[in-house]
C-alpha cells in the first residue's frame, strides 16, 4: 500500500507534465481527487464529449489513494465470497486508452489553495487546476470504544480490507459489527470461507433502514442457517484485549463476551470532507453541492459519497452514477462557457443484495407508519411490502423474489399515480403494464416506466 507521503506517477499520457502554464492558452487542466467508482464513472461520462471532436483543450489529472483506481467496490463482497477475483473488478482503463491528456497519479492531496488554484500533493508537489473535482468518498465509521485502536479491528471498504479478510485462516473467529448491507455481505462472505462469524447489530432487525421487521427477521433466519450467529438489539461496549493488547473478543452492553481475534466494523460511513473543510469550501455533513454538483467555490465540484446534496448523503452506487452523468455535462459546458441545463435532483435509493441465496430489495421511504400493501408466501419465504402515500408508491421492501424491484423503483422515482391499479400493484409489472389484456382492468401505466424491460 502506498503511504500518504509518497506520490507515484503513472504516466499514461503522451502529453506528460505535472505543471502546465495555462495562462496563454485556452487549454484547461482539471484535477480529480480520488478515484473511486464515482470518479471512474465521471471519466467514462466524459469520454464521449471529450473525444468526440478530438479536442485537445482539456487535460485531466486523477489522483488515487489506492494503488488500483476505479475498481468496482460493490464487487468486493463477491471477491470475499470467492465468486470473483479482484482483477475482474478493475475497470477497463478508459481514461488511459481513450481520453486525451489524462494522467493518473497515486498519492494524496494534502491541501487546496483556492486562490492560487493549486493542490499540494503528498510528495510536496503542486498541481494547478482550472477546475477541481472532489470525489474523496467516505470512510468507515469506527465507534469510540475502549480497545478500538489496536490490531484485529478493520473495516470492509477497500480492496486492501478485502485482501486482509481473505487472508484469515478458515477456523478464525470474526465478529462483524453492523447488520446493514455491508456487514451482512462481510458476514456471509466470511462464513462462506469457513470462518466462524458472529454478527452484532444494534437494531431490532437486520438492515433496519431498508427492511421491515418481518423481512429482517427472515433474513436473520437465513443467516443463522448459514452458521452465522446473529445478535440483535446488541451494541458493542468494549473490545476485550489481553495484557498483550491482543484482541480476545467484544463485550456487549449486556456484559456478554463474544470471543474472536478479529472484528469487522460495518457501522456506516462518514464522508471524507477534511480536505474541503480545510480549504474553506462549505461543508455540512458532506461537501455541499448544488444541483450541478458545484460547491461553494465555482471552480470546485464534488460528487459521490463525500457530498451533501440537498442535505442528503449517498452510500449506494446508483445516485453516484447519476451525479457523474450530470457533472460531466456541467464540466464540459462550463469549459465551453455555454449554458447547461443538466441537473441532479436526487435519487430514490434502492438497495438490493443477495446473500445465502436470499435476494432482498429495498427502495424509498419505508416508514412503517405509512399505508402499505403486504404480500407473503410463507413456505417459500417470499415477501413484498409496498408503502404508499397519497396514491403514489413511496417505498418498497422485497424479500425472496425481487424480480419487480426495478419496476417499483421506477414507479417511486417517477411518482406515478397508482390508484387505479392498486389492487394489482403488488403482483408486479406483468399485472400492471398491459401484459395482461383485460377489458375491465387498467391497461398500462401512462408513463410506461417499465415498458423498456417488460
Amino acid at each position: 500500500m502506498v503511504k500518504p507521503n509518497e506520490t507515484v506517477v503513472q504516466d499514461m499520457s503522451p502529453h506528460e507534465g505535472n505543471v502546465r502554464d495555462d495562462t496563454i492558452s485556452p487549454h484547461e487542466h482539471w484535477v480529480i481527487v480520488g478515484h473511486g467508482m464515482a470518479a471512474q464513472r465521471l471519466l467514462e461520462e466524459l469520454h464521449d464529449p471529450l473525444t468526440h471532436r478530438k479536442r485537445q483543450d482539456v487535460s485531466i489529472t486523477i489522483i488515487s489513494g489506492e494503488p488500483v483506481g476505479g475498481y468496482n467496490r460493490i464487487g468486493l463482497s463477491d471477491v470475499l465470497a470467492g465468486k470473483r477475483t479482484l482483477a475482474e473488478l478493475t475497470p477497463q482503463q478508459i481514461h488511459s486508452q481513450h481520453l486525451p491528456n489524462c494522467q493518473w497519479l497515486q498519492g494524496w492531496v494534502m491541501a487546496i489553495d483556492r486562490t492560487a488554484q493549486t493542490v499540494r500533493l503528498s510528495d510536496g508537489g503542486l498541481l494547478p487546476y482550472d477546475r477541481l473535482i472532489l470525489s474523496t468518498g467516505s470512510s468507515a465509521l469506527l465507534p469510540e470504544l475502549p480497545g478500538i485502536n489496536g490490531q484485529g479491528i478493520q473495516a470492509f471498504r477497500t480492496a486492501a480490507d478485502t485482501e486482509g479478510l481473505m487472508a484469515l485462516p478458515a477456523n478464525a473467529s470474526v465478529i462483524v459489527v453492523g447488520g446493514g448491507l455491508l456487514g451482512i455481505e462481510a458476514a456471509v462472505g466470511l462464513a462462506g470461507r469457513g470462518v466462524n462469524v458472529a454478527l452484532v447489530h444494534r437494531g431490532a432487525w437486520l438492515m433496519n433502514r431498508q427492511l421491515d421487521a418481518l423481512s429482517g427477521d427472515w433474513l436473520a433466519e437465513a443467516l443463522t442457517s448459514r452458521g452465522i450467529r446473529v445478535y440483535l438489539n446488541s451494541t458493542v461496549a468494549e473490545i476485550a484485549r489481553d495484557e498483550r493488547e491482543d484482541m480476545q473478543g467484544v463485550i456487549l452492553q449486556t456484559g456478554e463476551q463474544l470471543d474472536a481475534a478479529h472484528a469487522v466494523f460495518a457501522m456506516g460511513v462518514k464522508p471524507n470532507v477534511d480536505l474541503a473543510q480545510r480549504a474553506g469550501v462549505a461543508v455540512a455533513d458532506g461537501i455541499e453541492v448544488d444541483d450541478q454538483m458545484i460547491t461553494s467555490d465555482p471552480a470546485i465540484y464534488a460528487l459521490g459519497e463525500c457530498v451533501s446534496h440537498r442535505g442528503v448523503q449517498f452510500g449506494l452506487v446508483g445516485p453516484l452514477y447519476e451525479q457523474a452523468a450530470v457533472l460531466a455535462r456541467v464540466l464540459v459546458a462550463n469549459r465551453d462557457h455555454i449554458a447547461c441545463d443538466a441537473r441532479y435532483e436526487g435519487t430514490v435509493v434502492a438497495t438490493h443484495l443477495k446473500v445465502s441465496g436470499v435476494p432482498v430489495y429495498s427502495a424509498g421511504d419505508i416508514d412503517p407508519a405509512q399505508e402499505s400493501l403486504v404480500w407473503q408466501d410463507l413456505p417459500k419465504r417470499h415477501y413484498k411490502r409496498l408503502f404508499l402515500k397519497e396514491g403514489r408508491l413511496v417505498g418498497v421492501v422485497l424479500y425472496g423474489d425481487i424480480s419487480d424491484g426495478g419496476f417499483y423503483h421506477d414507479l417511486i422515482q417517477q411518482q406515478v399515480d397508482i390508484r387505479a391499479w392498486r389492487e394489482h400493484l403488488i403482483f408486479g409489472a406483468a399485472h400492471c403494464t398491459g401484459n395482461v389484456e383485460r377489458n375491465n382492468k387498467p391497461q398500462a401505466i401512462s408513463q410506461k416506466p417499465y415498458s423498456a424491460a417488460a
Binding site: N72, I74, G75, D78, R84, E88, L89, V317, G318, Y321, H352, K354, P359, E371, S372, L373, V374, W375, Q376, D377, L378, P379, K380, H382, L388, D401, I402, S403, D404, G405, G406, R422, E423, H424, I426, F427, G428, A429, A430, H431, N435, V436, E437, R438, N440, A452, A453, A454
Partner: protein, 900 residues
C-alpha cells in the same frame, strides 16, 4: 362399441330430437337430430351440453328412509305402509302427489291412475300448474278441449308473428331460430316481409330482434288484444261468416272489448305504449291473415292468465285465423312433457285422457276402464292449495316426483315450512341434493335423462320417444316402476301389471280411444295395440293418431269443428284485470318480474352441472333501470335487498344489480334458477306472494310487488375450495362449481373474517392446511389468503369492501392441479395469470434482467452491443458486473441467429 340413439331433449317445450353418441355406458356426444321435425338438426346451448350434465357424483343412487340407506323393497314398503296408514286414519284426501312436467308420459299415467282411481283422491297436481295451466283452462273454455291447434311450421308460414309474454330467443331458442331463419329466407327470396311483433315489458333478446316491440305495462295484454278485436271489427277484418257458423259469444265479447279498449288512445294509455306503435301493430294484424300469436309464461303466470289467453284466442276466432297453415293462437309450454302430463290428466282438475270432472260420464268411463275400486269424483287441490293443505295439516303425506317446489313455488319459504311439519314427505329425484329432497323422509332414487325410457309430447302435440341410452346408475329406478311397486304393495297389483313402458303407453292409448268416437281431441287409437317393436321404433308424430290419421294430425280446427257440446268455439268477454299487487313508487316499491336465463334450466339441478352453461350469467343479478338505481342510490355493482310487502314478510332476497335500460322504470327482473343449494337469499320464489288465477289456479309469478332497499355489505369476497361447505359463514352467498372446484361468492353485512377469526375458521374447516400466502391491503380492508399444504391448495379466500373480479376459471384451474407451477403460485392471489414470459436466469441483478429477455433483445430487437442493451433494458448499467455475461450472450446469440 359406439352407438347412435335418437332420443329427445329433456329441457323446454320445443321437444327437440337429439341424436346421442353412446359408447358403452357413456353418452359422449349429442347433436340435434336431423330427422326430428321439431328442430331438424338444431340444438340450443343447453341441449348441446346434455352429455356434460351426467355427473354421477351429483346423483341420488340409493333409497333411504329417514336418513338410513335401505333396499328397494324396504323403501317401497315404507311408502306403501305410510300412505295406507294415513289414508286409513284420515281418508284418501289426506295424501297428495306433486309431480312434474319432467316425468315421461308413462310415469305420469301410472301416478295419475294410482291416485285418482285407486287411492281415491284427485290430490295430484303438477308443476305444470306453474307453467301453462292458464293456457289449458283458456283452451278448454274456448275450444271445449285442451287443444293446441297448431304446428311448428306455422311459425315459419306466418307472415305476422306476435310473441307475447315470451322471450323465445332464450327460452325456446330452437323455435326462435326457425322463426328468424324463415324471415331471412323470405327477405332473400324477395317475398313480402314477414314481420315480428314482440309484446313484453322488457326489451328482451327476443324484442331486440322484432320489427316492433311494445313494452307494455305489465299485465295489460288483454287490453291490447281487446283493442285489437275492436280495431279489426271496425275495419271489417273480423270474419262474420266464420263467427256465425263456428263460434258463439262474439257479440258480448266485442261489446266488452269496446267498453274496455274502445279506442287506440285508451289502449295506448292503459298499456303505456305510444299510440303510433299500437296502430302499427293493429294495422299489420289487419292486413295479415297469416298471423300466429305465440304466447307463454308472460301470459300464463298471472292472476288473469286464462282471460289474457282468451283475449288472444278471441281475436283468432273472430278472424277465423285458427287451424290454418300460418294462422293460429299458439301456446308454448315451458317443460319437455307438460303436454304429456295434460294428456294423462296430471293436473288435479283434469281426469285422464282429456276427460273432465264436470262430466259424470267421463268419470264413469275412466272408472270402468281402470276397473277402479276407489274412483275419485271431483277435482283435487291445485298446487298452491295443495301445499296450503300440507301446511294446515289436512294433507299428511305427500309424494313429490321430479320437481323442486321449495324453489319454484310462490311463497317458497311457506312451502318449505309446510313440508317441514308434514308427517310423511316422499321425494323421488335423480339428483342427490335439491332443496326439496332435503325435506324428505323417504328418498327414492329415480332415473334421469339418458336412462329414462318412454314418451314425451311437445308443444305442437308431437309425441316422441325419449330413449334409454345407458343403464341406470346405482340403484336408480324408473318413476313408473317405483309407482307400480308402491301400487302393488298397497294391494292394487292386478291393475298395475306393467313390465315395461310400452305396457303403460298401450293402456294410455287404449284409454284415449275408449268410447271416444271423435268426441275427444286426444285420441291415440292407432297405438291401442302397439307392439314393443313398434313402440321402440316409434317416429315423432302429432296426435290425434288414428286410423283416419295414421300419420298424425298437423293442425286441428281447420274444419271449424270444436269439442264444445255445440261444436262451436266460444268467444268469451274479457274485462281486463290488473295484477293484484300494486307498487307504490314513493315507498321504493317495485314490480318484480321473473324468468329464465338463456343458459339455465329450472332450478339448475341439471344445467348447473355443465360449466359452460354457467358462463353466460354466473350470478343472479337483479336488473334495474339506471334511473331507478340512481334514485335508490345503488351503485352499478351494488346490492339490493328485496323483501315482500305486508305485515308478515314471507321472504327476502339479496342480489347485486345490473343496470339495464331494457327494464321499464319501476320494474325489476330476477332469474328463477337459484336455490338454497347454491345460494342464500337467491331463491326468488321466496319473494313471490301467493296470488292465483281464479280459474286455472296458476300463480302470478311474474308480477310481485317488492320493497327494494340498498344493502351495503361491509365485506364481499370469494372462496375457492374443493368441497361445498356444510355451513357457509356469510350473510349471503352463491356457490357454483368451476373446473371441479367449488366457488363461493359471498357478502357479509358486518366484516367477519378478521385476522384471528379468519385463521381459526380456516383451520377448523381444513385442519391439515396452513397459511401459504397472504395479501393484505389494510387501508382498504382487503385480504386474500391461500390455505393448504405444500403445493396442494385447500382454500383460497378473497374479501374486501367490493366484490373482487378475478379470473375465476383460471384460479380454479390452478387449484385443481395437485401441484401448482411456480409462476401460477405467485399469481394466485392476483387472481389471474400474469402472462409474463419466463425472463430466464437473472443476468443483471441490479435491474433484474433475465437471460431469455436479453437473448430476445439481441436476436429480435437488434440490440447487439452492451451499450444498446443497457439503454433498452438497463442491464449492465449499474454495477456493471454482468457486462462480460452480456458480451458472451451477444456473441453466442448473434452466432445462433447466423446459423439459423
Amino acid at each position: 362399441m359406439k352407438r347412435r340413439v335418437d332420443t329427445t331433449c329433456p329441457y323446454c317445450g320445443v321437444g327437440c330430437g337429439v341424436s346421442a353418441l353412446v359408447h358403452d355406458q357413456q353418452v359422449i356426444a349429442v347433436e340435434g337430430s336431423a330427422r326430428h321435425p321439431a328442430n331438424r338438426g338444431r340444438l340450443c346451448v343447453k341441449g348441446s351440453a346434455l352429455h356434460e350434465t351426467l355427473d354421477p357424483q351429483a346423483r341420488l343412487l340409493q333409497p333411504s328412509v329417514r336418513g338410513e340407506t335401505v333396499d328397494w323393497s324396504t323403501a317401497i314398503n315404507e311408502v306403501a305402509t305410510g300412505l295406507r296408514q294415513v289414508i286409513k286414519e284420515h281418508g284418501p284426501d289426506s295424501v297428495a302427489f306433486y309431480v312434474s312436467g319432467q316425468l315421461l308420459t308413462e310415469d305420469y299415467y301410472v301416478a295419475n291412475k294410482l291416485m285418482k282411481g285407486f287411492i281415491g283422491s284427485s290430490n295430484i297436481d303438477t308443476n305444470s300448474r306453474l307453467c301453462m295451466s292458464s293456457a289449458v283452462a283458456a283452451q278448454k273454455r274456448a275450444f271445449g278441449s285442451d287443444t293446441v291447434p297448431a304446428h311448428y311450421d306455422d311459425l315459419e308460414l306466418a307472415d305476422l308473428l306476435v310473441l307475447t309474454g315470451s322471450n323465445a330467443a332464450w327460452t325456446h331458442p330452437v323455435l326462435f331460430q326457425r322463426m328468424m331463419a324463415a324471415r331471412t329466407a323470405a327477405q332473400e327470396a324477395g317475398a313480402p316481409d314477414k314481420r315480428m311483433v314482440v309484446i313484453d315489458p322488457r326489451r328482451t333478446a327476443t324484442a331486440e330482434s322484432a320489427d316492433l316491440h311494445l313494452a307494455i305495462r305489465p299485465g295489460t295484454d288483454a287490453v291490447l288484444f281487446n283493442g285489437l278485436l275492436v280495431w279489426l271489427h271496425q275495419r271489417g277484418i273480423t270474419n262474420a261468416a266464420y263467427i256465425k257458423r263456428h263460434t258463439q259469444g262474439f257479440a258480448e265479447t266485442l261489446a266488452t272489448a269496446q267498453q274496455t279498449a274502445g279506442s287506440v288512445a285508451a289502449v295506448a294509455q292503459a298499456c303505456a305504449v305510444p299510440v303510433q306503435d299500437i296502430v302499427q301493430f293493429y294495422e299489420w294484424a289487419a292486413e295479415t291473415p297469416n298471423m300466429v300469436t305465440f304466447y307463454s309464461m308472460g301470459i300464463n303466470q298471472s292472476t288473469s292468465g286464462v282471460d289474457k289467453a282468451q283475449s288472444i284466442i278471441n281475436v283468432h276466432l273472430a278472424t277465423g285465423r285458427i287451424g290454418k297453415p300460418g294462422a293460429a293462437p299458439f301456446s308454448i309450454t315451458g317443460q319437455p312433457n307438460a303436454m304429456g302430463g295434460r294428456e294423462v290428466g296430471g293436473l288435479a282438475n283434469q281426469l285422464a285422457a282429456h276427460m273432465n270432472w264436470d262430466n259424470p260420464d267421463d268419470i264413469n268411463r275412466v272408472e270402468r276402464f281402470w276397473r277402479a275400486p276407489n274412483m275419485a269424483r271431483e277435482a283435487g287441490l291445485n298446487a298452491t292449495d295443495l301445499f296450503s293443505a300440507v301446511g294446515e295439516g289436512r294433507i299428511k303425506a305427500i309424494w313429490i316426483m321430479a320437481t323442486n317446489p321449495v324453489v319454484s313455488m310462490p311463497d317458497a319459504d311457506r312451502v318449505r315450512a309446510a313440508l317441514a311439519q308434514c308427517d310423511l314427505v316422499i321425494v323421488s329425484d335423480c339428483m342427490q341434493h335439491t332443496d326439496t329432497l332435503d325435506m324428505a323422509h323417504i328418498r327414492l332414487p329415480a332415473t334421469g335423462w339418458s336412462e329414462k325410457d318412454g314418451t314425451v309430447t311437445n308443444s305442437e302435440r308431437r309425441i316422441s320417444r325419449q330413449r334409454a341410452l345407458v343403464k341406470p346408475l346405482g340403484e336408480a329406478q324408473h318413476d313408473w316402476w317405483i309407482i307400480t311397486q308402491v301400487a302393488h304393495a298397497m294391494g292394487f297389483g292386478a291393475s298395475f301389471p306393467y313390465q315395461q313402458p310400452v305396457d303403460i303407453f298401450r293402456e294410455h292409448a287404449q284409454l284415449s280411444a275408449y268410447e271416444n268416437n271423435a268426441t275427444r281431441d286426444f285420441d291415440l287409437s292407432l297405438y291401442a295395440d302397439i307392439s314393443t317393436a313398434e313402440y321402440d321404433a316409434m317416429a315423432p308424430m302429432q296426435w290425434p293418431i288414428t286410423a283416419k290419421a295414421p300419420m298424425g294430425t298437423a293442425r286441428l280446427f281447420g274444419d271449424g269443428q270444436f269439442f264444445t257440446p255445440e261444436g262451436k268455439a266460444r268467444l268469451f268477454p274479457i274485462v281486463p284485470r290488473r295484477p293484484v299487487a300494486e307498487a307504490n313508487p314513493e315507498q321504493s316499491h317495485f314490480v318484480l318480474n321473473t324468468g329464465r336465463l338463456r343458459d339455465q334450466w329450472h332450478t339448475m339441478t341439471r344445467t348447473g352441472l355443465a360449466e359452460r352453461l354457467d358462463q353466460h350469467a354466473p350470478e343472479p343479478r337483479v336488473s334495474v333501470h339506471p334511473d331507478d338505481a340512481e334514485a335508490l342510490g345503488v351503485s352499478p355493482d351494488g346490492w339490493l335487498n328485496l323483501a315482500t310487502l305486508g305485515d308478515q314478510p314471507t321472504g327476502e332476497l339479496k342480489a347485486r344489480v345490473v343496470l339495464s335500460t331494457t327494464q321499464r322504470r319501476g320494474e325489476l327482473f330476477m332469474p328463477i334458477h337459484w336455490t338454497h343449494q347454491n345460494s342464500r337469499h337467491g331463491r326468488v320464489g321466496a319473494l313471490i306472494p301467493t296470488a292465483i288465477d281464479p280459474i286455472s289456479g296458476q300463480p302470478e309469478l311474474k308480477h310481485a310487488v317488492v320493497q327494494a332497499r340498498v344493502w351495503q355489505p361491509q365485506q364481499q369476497g370469494m372462496l375457492w375450495c374443493r368441497q361445498p361447505l356444510p355451513n357457509p359463514p356469510w350473510d349471503t352467498w352463491l356457490m357454483r362449481t368451476v373446473g371441479g372446484i367449488t366457488v363461493y361468492q359471498f357478502a357479509a353485512e358486518r366484516a367477519l373474517a378478521l385476522d384471528a377469526p379468519l385463521e381459526t375458521w380456516l383451520r377448523d374447516e381444513w385442519p391439515y392446511g396452513e397459511l401459504l400466502q397472504r395479501f393484505d391491503d389494510a387501508t382498504n380492508g382487503m385480504t386474500r389468503v391461500l390455505w393448504g399444504q405444500g403445493n396442494r391448495i385447500e382454500a383460497l379466500v378473497w374479501f374486501g369492501p367490493t366484490m373482487p373480479q378475478p379470473d375465476i376459471a383460471w384460479v380454479a384451474n390452478c387449484l385443481q392441479a395437485d401441484t401448482i407451477s411456480a409462476p401460477d403460485r405467485r399469481d394466485l392471489l392476483a387472481g389471474r395469470s400474469g402472462g409474463q414470459e419466463d425472463a430466464g436466469p437473472t443476468v443483471c441483478s441490479c435491474h433484474q434482467v433475465g437471460e431469455y429477455r436479453i437473448r430476445h433483445a439481441i436476436q429480435h430487437e437488434g440490440l447487439t452491443t452492451v451499450a444498446a442493451l443497457g439503454k433498452a433494458l438497463k442491464c449492465g448499467t449499474q454495477c456493471g458486473s454482468c457486462i462480460p455475461d452480456l458480451q458472451r450472450l451477444i456473441s453466442t446469440s448473434v452466432e445462433s441467429v447466423k446459423s439459423d
